[in-house]
Structures are given as C-alpha cells and as structure tokens.
C-alpha cells in the first residue's frame, strides 16, 4: 500500500528527494568499520573479493571453480567459502575455509566434493557449523567441525528433507525448515542433537528461510501463506507470529536482514519488470520505510557492523555493483566499479 501511494512522504533516499542525493563523503566512508566480502565475476568466473567501505579492493579466492562467499567465522579470521564446479561431468559443491590472513593456497576443504553442501551457519564460538548436506540422505541439516575432512553429525533425519539451518545466537539451537508434512515448516532443533524438535509454524503453505535476530528473541522467515511471498516474525517458541511489514505490503518480499542491534529489518520487495526496492521496518511495528526509489533493481541489503550503513546490490549504472547508503536511504554511493557483476555482499569486522 505504501508503495502504491508513493510512500506518503515516508520514503528515504532518492524517493524523498527528486535529485540524486549526495554521495557519502570520503571521510564518512573511512569512518565505517570492517570489510565487505562479495562475489565478483570481473575475472569471468566467480571469485570472492573484499572491499573496504572506502573502496580498497582485494581478491580473496581465485580457484578455477566458482567460489561463493559464505558467512565469516565469529572471530573474523576465516571466511566460509562454498565452491561449486563440474568435473568429468560430475557437479560438486564443497565447503571450504579461507583464512583471511592467508592466500588462496591456505584454503581448507571440510569434506570431499559432493552434489550438495550449502547454507552454512556458524556456531557463535566458532567450534562448529550447521549446513545442508545430502551425504547421507536427500537433504539433512548436519553439524560439521571447521577442519579438513570433518565428519558430519546429522541433526535431522527427515526423509523429505530439512533445509536452511541457522544457529541461534547463544549456540544452543538450530532453526531450519523441514518438509515432513508435505510443505515446508519452520522447526527448532537442539544443537546437541538431543530431545524432540520444536515446531514453530503450522500452516499448509510454505514457510521458509528462518533467521535469528541478534538477540535471539525473534525468528524472521518468508512465507506464502497469504498467497504472496512475505517476511514474518515469530518468537522462537512459536508465539506472536506477524507480518514484518504490517499493512505496508508492496510486492513479494525477500532477503530480510536484521540490523546489528536487532531493532530493524531491511528487506527487498519485488516490483514489476524485475525491478526491486529496499525497505526497512522496525521490529517493534509501524509502517515500513523505503530506502531506495524503486526505479532500478536494488537487492541484497547487508548492514555494517555498527549499523550506521548498509551495503546493497544495484544495477542502476548498467552493471551489477555494490552500493553504500545510510540506514535512512540517503547517501547512496557506488562502491565497486569493475566490469562484471559484483554481488552477495557480507559485511563484518575482520581480525
């Protein structure tokens, strides 16, 4: 509704100001913390690169197979990388650790290549990861130690599959999606593998992609229960379920990202013609606010560690590149410029 009514003066960024807003100053960019890892296709294949908010770029991986940036380890020293390739007609995926201090040769593979290994999530103490694996069944959520040739420990054993694990901020639980009853539902499993899983959602349409808020008090997930894709919030005990955008639905929603303080969620709403727009909503409720103007394809928002900026992907200048903006949508600034797509940003503080 907000989108259809032109934001009612609530839009940030370009929508509120017809002319392009001023870019972030060099000083403001230098004051932003951390580093942003992203997927770049500038070399014609998919490699992981990193860039500082001020624009200094470094290549992180360079193997001939495609490499996607996964989540960084909690200590900020290591990046999880998902490699994906095809050899001798066999498709494979492989979780690898990429020490940020080391070169590409320092990579450690966690397991032999297999058809599917993905959606990894770190435990907060960095001693294990949860991931999707088909090594022992169609799709299980497994625990794996961050070391070479680690042995998977199955957390789930559901014939129709469990997917998209997310480790709770305190490391005691793993939220994921299981399809046991004919449609995907959100469950929470104990991280030590004991006890019965706790069912969070019950509805005959699809509930997917659970993510914990930083304080562990909410799970965000995407559901089509209203026959449109929408981001919902629910307590980790299954209570208080509601749509994040309240009455402000403006197109199929996806790519939700909690702010570091857990008070807000940035997300993307799909528009006509493949365009998309970034919004932000308060977890406490209230109308969502548009951060980008909806004239382009703007995707994949990710917060800076201090919550004072967002990085996102846009095609506004003809190529697919990373951009920065303030959390109110102002200061939209191009960050990467290399020819070839740059996408999948993850912003964190390295050690």
């Amino acid at each position: 509704m907000l989108g259809a009514m032109g934001c009612q003066g609530r839009c940030g960024g370009a929508a509120a100001v017809p002319a392009a807003p001023g870019a972030l100053s060099e000083a403001e960019r230098r004051a932003l913390p951390g580093t942003i890892v992203f997927l770049s296709e500038r070399a014609g294949q998919k490699d992981v690169w990193r860039v500082t908010p001020a624009g200094e770029e470094t290549q992180v991986t360079s193997a001939p197979e495609d490499e996607y940036p996964g989540p960084p380890s909690p200590d900020g020293r290591t990046l999880l990388v998902i490699a994906s390739g095809e050899a001798d007609g066999r498709v494979f995926q492989q979780l690898r650790l990429q020490p940020l201090a080391g070169g590409p040769q320092s990579q450690v593979a966690l397991h032999p290549p297999r058809p599917r290994a993905r959606n990894a999530s770190w435990a907060p103490d960095g001693t294990w990861l949860a991931a999707e694996s088909d090594a022992q069944g169609f799709s299980d959520v497994v625990r794996v130690r961050p070391q070479a040739n680690a042995v998977d420990a199955q957390l789930t054993n559901v014939k129709a599959g469990c997917f998209e694990p997310a480790v709770s901020p305190d490391g005691t639980e793993v939220a994921c999606v299981c399809s046991g009853e004919g449609d995907p539902e959100v469950y929470v499993f104990r991280a030590d593998g004991t006890g019965e899983p706790r069912r969070i959602t019950t509805f005959y349409l699809e509930d997917r992609t659970p993510q914990w808020s930083p304080d562990g008090k909410w799970l965000a997930f995407v559901s089509n229960r209203e026959r449109k894709e929408r981001v919902y919030l629910v307590r980790p005990d299954g209570s208080d379920l509601r749509a994040l955008s309240g009455g402000g639905f403006a197109g199929d929603e996806r790519e939700a990202a909690f702010s570091p303080d857990g008070r807000r969620v940035a997300y993307v709403a799909r528009l006509e013609d493949g365009k998309s727009r970034i919004w932000v909503a308060d977890v406490a409720g209230g109308a969502p606010v548009a951060l980008t103007d909806g004239q382009h394809r703007d995707d994949m928002p990710a917060w800076s560690p201090d919550g004072k900026a967002l990085v996102f992907v846009s095609e506004r200048d003809g190529d697919t590149d990373l951009y920065l903006m303030r959390p109110d949508g102002t200061g939209q600034t191009r960050l990467t410029t290399a020819k070839g797509a740059d996408w999948l940003p993850r912003w964190f503080t390295p050690r």
Binding site: G182, R254, R270, S314, E315
Partner: protein
Amino acid sequence: MSIFRNPLAAAAAALVLSACGPQAQQNPEAPPAETPSQPSPDTAGSALPRELDPLFAQAAQEFNVPAELLKAVSYAETRWQMIRGEAEFPGQKPAFGLMALRGEDLEQGAALAGVTVEAASTDALSNLRAGAARLSQLATDVNVERGDLAAWAPVVARLSGITNPEAQAEHVHRGVYAVINQGAVALNQDGSVFASLEPVKVEAKFERPQVRAMAAGPDYAAAVWRPSPNYNARPSGSTGDPSMIIIHTCEGSYSSCWSWLTNSASGVSAHYVVNESGSEVSQLVREASRGWHIGATYDCSLNASKECWLNGVSANHFTIGIEHGGYASQTSFPTGQIDASAKLSCDIARDNAIVKDSYHIVAHGRLQPATRTDPGPNWPWSTYISKINSYCGTTTPSGEIIVDSNSANNDASKARFELTGTWTDGYSAGYYGSGYYYAATEAVSAPATFWFYLPTAQTRTVDAWWVAGTNRSTTAPFIAYNAAGSEVGRVSMNQQINGGKWVQLGTYSFSAGWNKVQLSRWTTPGSVVMADAVRVR
C-alpha cells in the same frame, strides 16, 4: 517486452546464502530466485526498441526475404524476445537474439550482414539482419522462388538446426507456418504495438508431419509419447526413488528440444518437454526410468569401481526432468505453458509421492549451479508452485478447506473468518496459521464464525484446532450450519486438552454455498473459548 537480461546463477544465491529461499530464484515471483542481472555494457544498444516491425521490414528488404517469414521464424523461436542463449545440452550451440541464431548460422549470418558476432548476438537489428542474410543465403543454395512464401519452408527447416524429419515437419507446419497463418501481435505494457504479423493463408511446401495417431505417454495421458533411447534404470533403494522434479528450459524451441533429446547421438534426455504455448507435452522417458537431464551421471561400475562414494547421489537417480521450450534469459513465460507444466508436475508429484514444495520442485540451475541457470530468474516460482497445489487440490486431500482465524491466511474464494462481539487476539505458541482469538464464556450470542464455500451439497467431516490451557472451557460449543442458515449439528469440546492438533468435531451434511461452523461462548461461565482454525474435509 523489455530488454533482455542476463540471468546470473540465480540458483547460486540459494546455494550459498542462508538468507535466500529455496529456488534461485527465486523469485521472480520466486524469491530466492532473484539475484541481480548483469546487463552487459556492450549490449546497452540492444535495448529493444518499442517497435520491432520497422526492424523486421528493414532486414527483410535488405536481404530479399519475406518479412512475414522473418517475423514468424522469430516468433516461433523466441516469442520475439531478445534471448541470450546458454548451453543446455552438450553438443548444442547456444542461441542468441530475436532469431535464436546459433553456431554456424550466427557466424555466417553476421559475416553476410557485415556485423560482428557479438553485435549479431546482442543487438536487435544486427541479429535480425544476420538472420535475414543467412536465410537469404540458404534460399539461394536451394533456388527458392523468393516471392513464394510457401517455397521457403525447406529453408526454415534448415535454419532450425533440427535434423529429425518428423521434428522438422512439426517445426515448419505447427511452428513457423502456423504463426504465418494465424498471425500474432505483441504489445508493449502501455498497449502500443511492439510487433505484429498479419495472418497470411499459405500452405508450406514441405512434407507434413505424420498423421498417424500419436500414442499417449505411458505416465501422462495428455502427453505425446516420443520415446527416447537415452535413459537407463534407476538404482534400487531410496536413492532411486523419485523425490524431486527438475525444471529446465530447452534454450531452444520445443520441436528442436524433443528432437535432440530423442536422438541417440545426443546422449541426453528429459522425461517431459512442454511446448511454448502449453498446447502440447511430449513424454520421452518413463518416470520409473532414469533420464539423463542433469549433468551428474556418475556410476562407478563404469569406471573401474573408483570413487564409489559418489554412487547413489547423482541427481538423475532421484529426479524427474521437465524441459520447456524457451530460454533461461526470457523475461516472461507464456501463461499457457506454466499452466500445462503445473498440471504435469501435479500429476508427477501425485504418482511419485513427491512433496509439492519449493524444495522438491526445483530449478535445474539450483542443482547444477556451476554451469546452468535455467529456467532463469523469471520463471514464476510462487505462481507455479501454487498452481501445482491448486491442480492437485491444494496440498492434501482434494477439496479440503481450511479456515484460519487470521483472514489474511485464507483463500477468500472459499474461506473466511468473522467475529461477533469482543474477542481478544492471542499469540501463544501452538496455534494454526498466525495467532487465534479467545473470549470469556458468558450467556451472549457473540460467536466466532468459520465460513466455507461448497459448490455442491456435500457431507463433510469438520475438525478444529486450538491452543490448550487450564483456563479453557471444557464444553466449548461448536455449531455447524448449512448455507440456508439451518443448524446441521453441534458438539461440545474440551479445550483444556488436545491442543496444537486437529480434533474431529463431527461429520455433517452441508449445502451448496457458504456454510459455516460457529464457536459459541454461551456455556458455563468462568473460562474462555479458543477460536483458532477449522478444517473441512
């Protein structure tokens, strides 16, 4: 119509990113499905003009090719979309542009038109000129009477790249010349004409497709059975039990697709191919057999028993593949094609007990992200999945209706929820859908009403769901009414027990129209009644 986009590995996003949904997808409607596209800077000029007819006319005149023919070939191949082809089958060159030119045709056409291969691949006019030039050259080779539209048929067959004579005949008569005879119009979003082809009555001078009665597919009666030699047995055990459906695009036309997939030299197949309009489906491989549609076909017995740990995890073992005439770079898919494919997927899922969700009906690109992106970012995933569920009677038994206490969750065409008097929102865990309502018991007529629509008079069993608790009524009154408002049954339920699951209320005879089940609060005071959800089965 809009400019074409180069889909990135849409699937790739889903593969890595915990924040992405199940399909790459997503999303277009598919959500996850969505990763940014990357318009190549070099193709900026390929932004399709708002009107194609002058471009067709210019290219046709320059190379002395009938404009109708040029338009019809383009329509049959790409629906007048500027496609950027990708490899789908080993040995088949990717196709480009409005004319879907590939390989030698692309190179020769570009040379004859005096443009680079890059321009002929990515610029609309250059692509049309290259296509016209190539058609003209082929016409000269076989001495076509250029003024005779019908006489161009062998040239059309040649340009298609199809070698199977039956598929050539299908492509010529039911593809290109059918378009010429029927005409076609495509509009811009504002309603202005994007491209048009006036119908011309003409019979292609080309052998007609065989008139033999086509056999129905062994697993799907609505399919034409065109058996492919390219299959083998699924492995025994659970790894050979079909548990997923893989959605592909052919990166070419329907006829060329089934022709290639039934050619023993190709070494590839799919279980089904759905044509562009949805008017025809071919079955090539039995569902019980293992098709060769996804590039992971390892069998260690063929390789000195090396690396047998990979056995049983080939995606072909446990999947059923559906190809679709068209391209991963398409901006949209015809509604008829999506409908036909959804009906097919419903049938496959039902027969093989495949879960009908986004984790089991997936993009080729999701399972083979290193080298494939099909069916691309614009495959309408959420529409597709919901159509499958709708053709299969939502998720579970056909005709089941669920009325949730959150109206947003209900399909308004057959379920709605209404409150009379004051009820309070409840959000304790264990509810169905999103939350519930509760009210204190007292002697008032202020019920919660679960409405449901039946097209005919039916006897149905009704269940209710509530969150149990110690302050709940042990005699919560549920009363069923038919569409005329007459009571057809009532029952008292103990809401202190059996929470968080469906509890049967009874079986009643309802009438055609909007029937209802009411939860009354008129019972022993001092407790609450819980209105959460009702299921009619």
